[in-house]
Symmetry: C2
Subunit: 285 residues, 2 copies
């Protein structure tokens, strides 16, 4: 892999911090600089050794960087991109790690300065944990990263970002922003919303009986609320479609139960088990 | 704890086998006998040391036992109870480990032979695994076991069963069969059905993107289909009510998304996180 001279990370939390640790461990850049809004976050990231140095000054942070990574919650990506680009070097690559791509593409690409190459990234790693203190150098190992490609994408930059994520141990797939948002609404955003719903309908009297199965199914309901509010706000149409599919299936199940159609219910349960078992050995992260 | 002379276990799978291992480890009975339909299952249980000896003969297996535990799938419990009771000693205790209690109470209690004391048990332990080869002596440690009590319950037998499960490391709560079924529909049966639904609506093109969050949420969709078909068949009304609550909440979320009511969505996400975090340190198993 061609090394980077300077990588700048805007927002050094679980994902940004893990990128920093992974780049340093694999010596993929001469320098990793973190850009912060609060001195306390800067200190914490330095203490976790997620970055080589930190700054509160966007211009200073991104200048001279050949790769700038925005790792803030999705909603802040366009703002940060607009702040960063005027200070970035010509030919530098800008990427993000947001879980919604259509929104970012719409908001960022229109304002991309000449000479700056934007490629959207979505590393499907992370968990219900958040914060740089939970960052891990191997977070992306075996995980899947989706890159987005549009008519405007610079192919050399796409290849460079592709090999960057692969160097971090990730598998990579390339999708259009629209296809990304539809797939991810179904496999990630929907399960999160459902986990939240299961918690919300739990009444006080039932709560003491919530055991292993409930806890597994709802673990991701403890994920970062800022991040998930942003995702809901920026990918609403795709999430609505996914919700529709689920609601329709649950209504169908209710009908089968009320009709006592045990044969069909048994077929559903067996089919679901086959699908779930097929996933093992599939995507990680 | 007062020791048992002979404990007979009908159906030695994950739960029955774990009871056998736990009783032997804690020396709670002079003898643990397993009752089987197939010689191959008998051999497997002996090999796992889950029982002291096994038999294919129900009469021989339960005779002289002061505790008989039916650990088959829920649907078979009434049949097994009717087969076992004529051969049980007067004063012996009969229990089961079924996840649905109203059905068992209705089917079994009416036919309880005089002198036999029935107490329903539901150890909320286990996982998507099944089979005696996955049995563990400490499966019930820290888990919650619900016992059912009706007007007909013998209180001495209830106390004996209560201390049995506590000796296995379990916490114990006593509920009416109806309350049990409603609580468990919400905290266990509903999450299983939802996990199945999430798998069933997954299309081929989205499947490669199913990662950590999806896998956590759907892990329990890989549970034993026979067991779960039985549960759906025997607790349908309570599961329908739980499904109704969930469907209503998901429809509400859809409305909030389509209206762009981000403030309400954020409040939901934060509330769900608080509830989910409260569960940690709560019930295990």
């Amino acid at each position: 892999v061609k090394k980077f001279n300077k990588i700048a990370i805007i927002g050094v939390g679980l994902i940004g911090g893990s990128i920093g640790l992974a780049v340093k461990k694999r010596k993929l850049a001469k320098q990793v600089v973190g850009i912060f809004r609060r001195p306390s976050s800067l200190k914490k990231a330095l203490k976790c050794r997620a970055i080589d140095r930190g700054t509160l000054d966007m211009a200073e942070g991104v200048s001279g960087a050949d790769l700038v990574i925005i790792a803030t919650p999705v909603g802040l990506v366009p703002v940060m991109a607009k702040k960063a680009m005027p200070h970035m070097a010509k030919g530098a690559i800008l990427t993000d790690v947001g879980s919604v791509k259509g929104f970012i593409e719409r908001e960022v690409v229109g304002s991309v300065s000449h000479g700056i190459k934007f490629v959207g990234s979505h590393p499907m790693a992370g968990s219900e944990k958040s914060g740089v203190e939970n960052a891990e150098a191997d977070l992306f190992k075996g995980a899947l990263t989706i890159l987005t490609r549009t008519r405007r994408t610079d192919l050399a930059a796409l290849r460079r970002v592709d090999s960057f994520w692969k160097a971090l141990g990730s598998r990579v797939k390339v999708l259009s922003p629209e296809e990304h948002d539809a797939r991810v609404a179904l496999v990630s955003h929907l399960p999160h919303m459902v986990a939240q719903s299961l918690c919300l309908i739990l009444d006080d009297k039932s709560e003491p009986y919530a055991a292993g199965g409930f806890k597994d199914t709802t673990r991701i309901a403890a994920s970062d609320p800022v991040m998930w509010t942003d995702i809901a706000a920026t990918n609403a149409p795709a999430i609505e479609k996914a919700l529709d599919l689920l609601i329709r299936d649950l209504c169908w199940l209710k009908l089968l139960l009320s009709e006592g159609d045990i044969r069909s219910i048994s077929a559903r349960i067996n089919q679901a088990k086959r699908i779930r078992e097929r996933l093992e050995g599939g995507a990680k992260g």
